[in-house]
Symmetry: C2
Subunit: 214 residues, 2 copies
């Protein structure tokens, strides 16, 4: 398809597509004349991912470029490729090593992973940004007067573990490894707001069930 | 306790506490002289909640004031009081009624609630900001090329429904209705980042289980 059709089908303006091409976020089309190039479904899919990262994920352009480099690197194994792409997404807060509560919270995260039997997460430890953000968030909760220990977190982690199985099941239907990574990154960025809405709706429902509506 | 001790125990500077007092976010202490007032544990608890709303929840001061008004209004039933306080928190995006996909997404949300048998959520419908944000987010997902229907959302909603039971169980231990609402608001604002970290850790674990680490 031509640039105009790519714009039409993706809902992204031609000016923005040209910007993504210049920034290397979208591979060049197949040149068919001095002024025209041809784009295919892979371009359309990549364009949707770039838009998800930048518009919904609010990921900086340089970060998006790094995420896409991992998505495209087929020398990496599936878990690492997926992990590396997701790890490049913005993560905050980072733990404050000056704060004595950081060591306490980190020990609690490690104890949680042991209770869960999550061997990979234990092995990766603070290498994973998710481990670090969880540690830093628990420190914040402690300082705000709402401490949570491994036992309090355990049933939530178990429930989310079952949902992660669903996430990975959905990935099985995606044909190629590169598309799997693409879908996983899009899901991480796009699906979190859906989960938070569903959680709050579930809380309203459960509250009404226990206390009535009035 | 005096202002200095309230500051010490809450980790909030005396200047910030004075600002919260002026803004009506924290009730005045019991006056014990022309220049000194006495504060109690209720002040400390409220101060933690205000800090959670403003610092973690990034809630504007006027919104925080409105949330606290519901927290304190004991003429309201428990579900409404909790709901009203949570509903005052910032919610976005709102559905775009000009977009033909909005009606499609709203029908899908209603069909999901029917499949779930969530009677209160169905009754409240788009009155609940969570219903509206879910609708708007599904529209966004559709435009980005990742549509989700009621069947795809169902197992996630069911899983989060089980976690909402845990949330409400934890509230049972909180003594007074005002403190329950306070704890629920703090949990909504503070606990969401924890859940997102746990979800990503669970995904890494499940990915390693299926594809190995390399």
């Amino acid at each position: 398809m031509r640039l105009a059709e790519l714009s039409e089908r993706s809902g992204v303006s031609t000016a923005t597509i040209k910007y993504y091409l210049r920034e290397g976020l979208l591979p060049a089309g197949r040149r068919i004349s001095a002024t025209q190039a041809d784009y295919d479904d892979a371009h359309l899919r990549r364009l949707r991912l770039v838009r998800a990262l930048i518009q919904i994920g609010r990921v900086p352009v340089a970060t998006a470029r790094q995420v896409l480099a991992y998505v495209d690197d087929d020398s990496l194994g599936q878990t690492i490729r997926l992990g590396a792409a997701l790890w490049e997404l913005p993560h905050e807060p980072e733990p404050d090593e000056e704060d004595p509560q950081t060591a306490v919270a980190r020990a609690e995260v490690d104890r949680l992973l042991e209770l869960l039997g999550w061997a990979t997460a234990r092995e990766l430890g603070a290498l994973s940004p998710n481990h670090r953000v969880l540690t830093a968030t628990l420190v914040r909760l402690t300082h705000l007067g709402y401490p949570m220990d491994a036992e309090a977190l355990l049933p939530y982690a178990q429930g989310l573990g079952r949902l992660a199985e669903l996430d990975l099941d959905r990935l099985e239907d995606v044909p190629t490894p590169a598309e799997k990574v693409e879908a996983a990154v899009a899901a991480a960025v796009l699906f979190e707001p859906v989960l938070l809405c569903l959680r709050r709706l579930a809380q309203e429902e459960e509250s009404a069930r226990r206390f009535g509506l009035s």
